[in-house]
């Protein structure tokens, strides 16, 4: 068999692979004090990989490759853009963080780049095997990265918990995929979709198997996106991992899980909607409610953000879950809303983590109580913290409100008892969520700084300032002029058209 390969279409992946090899090689020859060059090279590589992305966006969509397993359409491009930007920001956040530990810098960047590569592959995957490889390439390096602070027991715990539950979820996912393969005899999404439709219409004997397979796959992805009740690893892992890795986990790794979940249910098993629709509904309702209530009790800022990101995952599931209850034709709108939510969430959450890194360095603690009076001691940091946390809470005119609006809008558009109930649950939850986000700003602005608090000396380094600037500007600009983000949602229409055609 000869494969048609469009090299421009896979150029972003190729650039990242090249960067991985270059960093690995360079790391061998660099003396210890010059190791920071590996970081520079990694950042450079990720930046370069964005160039073919722009070219691809401007040009005609390339034909599907590898027998339809690998597709570079607008939907894939938008997600690749998201993963590259999130990866770029994570790299910038890592630079000083890792340098201060003085070991294994090269390896750190190689692993992070591998994870980015995996997420790029994920976005294009249109069969179960490529999807699985992409997903594992995204998450496996993170098992190591989560335990990067070797001297810290919490970091060891983070890594171990994440590893064990990650492997468990992989096993469940793979089991589900194998059952799906057994029932349909195919791995490509198109063929699976056709076969599942047939089974749903006629073959009653295979129906339970497909249902079970779909549920297993959903559970597997639910671990990856840390939806309740499969979320137990997240708070411990986020707390113990290096903060840039927590940021990456809460954005890229979560986004990868969502993408995987949606392409499978939307492209491969839309016929089994009666199985996965209610499952997603329950995941959404549980994630929002449980995580928000748990977040109210957190005193550690990173644990709080962990619960917040679980709750946000619940909000992101809402549009698709509500649409699934309304019927197949509503799914397109649900998908669009989820992607818009994901993009906005990614930027504001990365900004929030960048604030956490700067504030932790300045106050010397990750406890929320240590942030008392931060706003008066460092007004700029206080304003940034307010921007990101209020945006996460969905307060206009910051970007988060638009994410909430598209979420509610898709719920109401789906309608029905299930839809309205989910909408009401989401509405109550957004109020609960506000309480703990407001608690952070309360500590920052309203509480008095402890009398013996040390003066702030170290200024944040240039790359963090840059990260904070990008994230803050985007958060405000998207909030005031949301059409910028609807562009991402519109990219999902290729997928919709593919399904319809």
């Amino acid at each position: 068999v000869t494969w048609h390969i469009d090299y421009l279409a896979i150029a972003p992946e190729l650039v990242i692979i090249g960067t991985i090899l270059a960093v690995l090689t360079l790391d061998l020859f660099l003396p210890r004090e010059l190791k920071y060059w590996t970081a520079t090279l990694a950042v450079l590589g990720v930046t370069l990989s964005a160039i073919p992305l722009v070219l691809l966006w401007a040009g005609d969509p390339p034909a599907p490759m590898f027998d339809g397993s690998y597709v570079v359409d607008d939907f894939a491009l938008v997600l690749k853009g998201l993963f590259i930007v999130a990866g770029y920001i994570t790299l910038l956040m890592s630079v000083n963080y890792i340098e201060s530990d003085r070991y294994y810098q090269g390896e750190y960047y190689v692993l992070l780049l591998s994870s980015i590569l995996g997420s790029l592959v994920m976005s294009s995957s249109r069969d179960l095997i490529v999807l699985f490889i992409g997903l594992e390439l995204t998450t496996s390096p993170l098992f190591l990265l989560a335990g990067w602070r070797k001297g810290d027991l919490k970091s060891n715990e983070a890594s171990l918990k994440y590893f064990i539950l990650g492997v468990l979820s992989t096993a469940i996912l793979l089991w589900g995929m194998s059952m799906l393969f057994g029932a349909t005899g195919a791995v490509g999404f198109d063929q699976i979709s056709a076969a599942v439709d047939g089974i749903m219409e006629g073959d009653t004997a295979l129906r339970p198997l497909v249902g079970l397979a779909v549920l297993f796959i959903i559970v597997g992805f639910a671990f990856k996106v840390s939806a309740v009740p499969f979320h137990f690893w997240a708070p411990d892992t986020y707390e113990g991992a290096p903060t840039p890795i927590s940021a990456y986990l809460s954005v890229s790794s979560k986004a990868a899980g969502f993408v995987g979940m949606f392409v499978v249910v939307y492209l491969a098993v839309p016929g089994a909607l009666d199985y996965w629709g209610p499952a997603l509904w329950a995941l959404a309702a549980l994630s929002m409610t449980v995580a928000n209530l748990a977040a109210l009790r957190q005193s550690n800022i990173v644990r709080l953000l962990a619960y917040s990101s679980i709750a946000q995952a619940g909000f992101m599931l809402v549009p698709f879950a509500a649409a699934a209850l309304a019927g197949p034709e509503a799914l397109a709108g649900g998908l669009e809303a989820t992607v818009i939510y994901l993009v906005i969430y990614a930027l504001m959450n990365l900004g929030a983590f960048a604030v956490v890194i700067v504030a932790a360095r300045r106050t010397g603690t990750g406890e929320l109580a240590g942030w008392a009076g931060l706003g008066r001691r460092d007004p700029r940091l206080g304003v940034l913290a307010s921007i990101f946390f209020f945006s996460l809470a969905g307060i206009p005119p910051l970007a988060g409100w638009f994410a909430k609006l598209v979420m509610f809008s898709s719920v109401i558009s789906a309608g029905g008892v299930g839809g309205y109930t989910l909408g009401a649950i989401a509405a109550v939850n957004s109020v609960i969520a506000f309480y703990y986000y407001a608690r952070i700003t309360k500590t920052v602005w309203f509480d008095e700084a402890p009398a013996d608090a040390p003066a702030f000396t170290t200024a944040p380094n240039g790359s963090l300032v840059w990260v904070l600037t990008i994230a803050a500007v985007v958060t405000v600009v998207v909030g005031v002029y949301p059409p910028i983000s609807t562009f991402f949602g519109e990219a999902t229409r290729v997928l919709v058209a593919a399904v319809a055609g």
Binding site: F402, L405, S409, S413, G415, S430, K442
Partner: protein, 538 residues
């Protein structure tokens, strides 16, 4: 001047304050005078622009939107940047820009700890953008944004500059600062309501697509659909109205959703209380008149008796609560519950008289209660207490402040000849004769209870005057030097007093603008021939 009339004028009024706030961030915090002068300048220019709008407003066409601007904003969901004023929103817009100027003048040398005039004035200006924006927005999404934008500055004002005392809260193990409790309570209540309000807006949006062709968030278009009876057969209309009403009723606030108000108003710094009482509460009642009634008139009719009952409970409850207060500022705060009860009762009648009454009631309450909060702030500034048992004989210690307080209290209790009279009087008049189809018995009962409420209002206002103004100064104040009202205070208060007097004698200043628009609104919504003469004669 064409640019001024096609949206730019209103946009300037809305966005000048926030642009001014942005510029103010660049001024170093030590140069306090520069920041104060700049903020005042921005507020003054905004006010002058709104006066220009008022003078160029065509009263002959008060029921149609003027100075209108409409450009696409979020095209994906068909939401436009649509602004405009009609006779209903014009008085409220001018009130809003006016109060902003007075707030900045008053704050000139009244700074609550921890001072920081720069931060405070920036927040005040941002607040101005939210307030002005809500009154001119003609798109549901835009309205929602401005409605929410006011929350952040007010949250920070209460939380940072608010009441420093500690307070035991049921359910909390330890005492917490009053300002923190009040700030978060204020935000959570409003957010809870507005989340459901947003769901209601979205439901209307999708329904408009099902009945009227294109889905739209445009308020005039939706109102046209509503008055055309397009939403009449919609099974969810009652629920959707309820969702919107929840959002507005929290803001107003209506009993039993009012509990945030006494806490927030009492804990807020003076300027915060003034703007809360004068403008922020009106966002809720304005929303019902502008959005809920015209779009869902049938559902409004179903809900009207319930609204009337809640309003009347609010009137009586607010007045009785006032009689039980020992803190003068908290008394004024509770009086808002009663006064806004009258406003809501007026709206609930769904007649032109009632809604006119509610608008003039809103303006009067804004002026009067705003002034009362200024006075309460100044009293606290001098006595360092607001306990009425310790105050007394204020007229002897500070004759000017005492006299102004007496004047304002008289206005608040609805003395004929002052602004407060018209809202209460016309509301009671309106409830005698509610919209055809509403229970006459219920509304007449409400009228009687409301009338009892006016007596109670007089009761607690006179009680407050007696406690604060009359009698002999307490032992503890002997030998204290009290300085009477200074020039900044007088500069902020005298214009308010003049307006209270002018509106009291010449209510047409407000009604002349609102009447046609209200008659049109009610007439469109319920296709009734309204008796225009009832209001014109006043």
């Amino acid at each position: 001047m064409e640019w001024f009339e096609n949206g730019w004028g209103l946009s300037l009024i809305v966005f000048l304050p926030i642009l001014g706030a942005l510029v103010a961030t660049a001024i170093p915090g030590e140069r306090e005078d520069t920041i104060k002068r700049w903020s005042l300048l921005v507020a003054l220019v905004t006010f002058v622009l709104s006066v220009v709008v008022a003078f160029n407003f065509d009263l002959g066409a008060a029921s149609s939107f003027q100075f209108e601007g409409n450009t696409p904003w979020i095209s994906a969901i068909g939401s436009n940047y649509h602004v405009g004023v009609d006779g209903i929103s014009l008085p409220l817009l001018v009130l809003s820009t006016f109060m902003l100027v007075l707030a900045i003048i008053y704050s000139w040398d009244h700074w609550e700890e921890p001072r920081n005039p720069k931060g405070f004035l920036i927040l005040t200006l941002i607040l101005g953008t939210g307030m002005n924006g809500t009154f001119v927005a003609l798109d549901l999404v835009l309205f929602f944004i401005f409605f929410e934008v006011v929350l952040l500055p007010m949250y920070f004002m209460i939380g940072i500059w608010g009441d420093k005392s500690m307070r035991a809260i049921p359910g909390f193990g330890r005492e917490i600062p009053t300002r923190l409790y009040a700030a978060i309570k204020f935000f959570l209540f409003t957010l809870f309501g507005s989340a459901f309000m947003l769901l209601g807006f979205l439901a209307v949006y999708f329904q408009s697509g099902d009945v009227g062709g294109a889905r739209t968030f445009d308020i005039p278009q939706l109102a046209a659909l509503g008055s055309g009876g397009q939403f009449a057969g919609w099974g969810l209309a009652g629920l959707v109205f309820g969702a919107m009403f929840l959002g507005f009723a929290v803001k107003v606030p209506m009993w039993p959703l009012h509990t945030w108000l006494p806490d927030a108003h009492t804990a807020a710094p003076t300027v915060g209380s003034v703007l809360l009482a004068a403008i922020l509460l009106k966002l809720g009642s304005y929303g019902i008149i502008r959005i809920a009634i015209p779009i869902l008139p049938e559902a409004a009719k179903d809900w009207a008796p319930a609204i009337a009952v809640l309003a009347v409970i609010g009137i009586i409850y607010g007045s009785l609560a006032c009689l039980a207060q020992t803190d003068v500022k908290r008394l004024i705060a509770f009086s808002s519950v009663g006064h806004m009860g009258f406003v809501m009762l007026g709206i609930a009648t769904l007649t032109d008289v009632g809604i006119n009454a509610s608008i003039i009631g809103m303006v009067a309450h804004g002026l009067i209660t705003g002034l009362l909060f200024f006075l309460a702030g100044s009293l606290h500034h001098r006595y360092h207490t607001r306990e009425m048992s310790r105050l007394g004989g204020n007229l002897k210690l500070m004759p000017k402040i005492g006299a102004i307080l007496s004047f304002t209290a008289m206005a608040s209790l609805g003395l004929p000849g002052l602004a407060g009279f018209w809202g209460e009087f016309m509301t009671l008049l309106g409830s005698y004769n509610p919209l055809a189809g509403l229970s006459v018995d219920l509304f007449r009962t409400a009228m009687v209870i409301g009338a009892i409420g006016t007596v109670l209002t007089a009761g607690y206002m006179l009680y407050m005057l007696q406690k604060v103004n009359l009698g002999e100064p307490g032992e503890e104040w002997v030998g204290h030097e009290f300085h009477d009202a200074d020039r900044f205070e007088l500069a902020a208060w005298v214009p308010l007093m003049i307006l209270i007097l002018v509106i009291g004698f010449y209510p047409k200043l407000i009604l002349g603008s609102t009447n046609d628009a209200v008659i049109d609104l009610v007439g469109n919504a319920y296709s009734v021939e309204t008796a225009a003469a009832t209001v014109e004669g006043s």
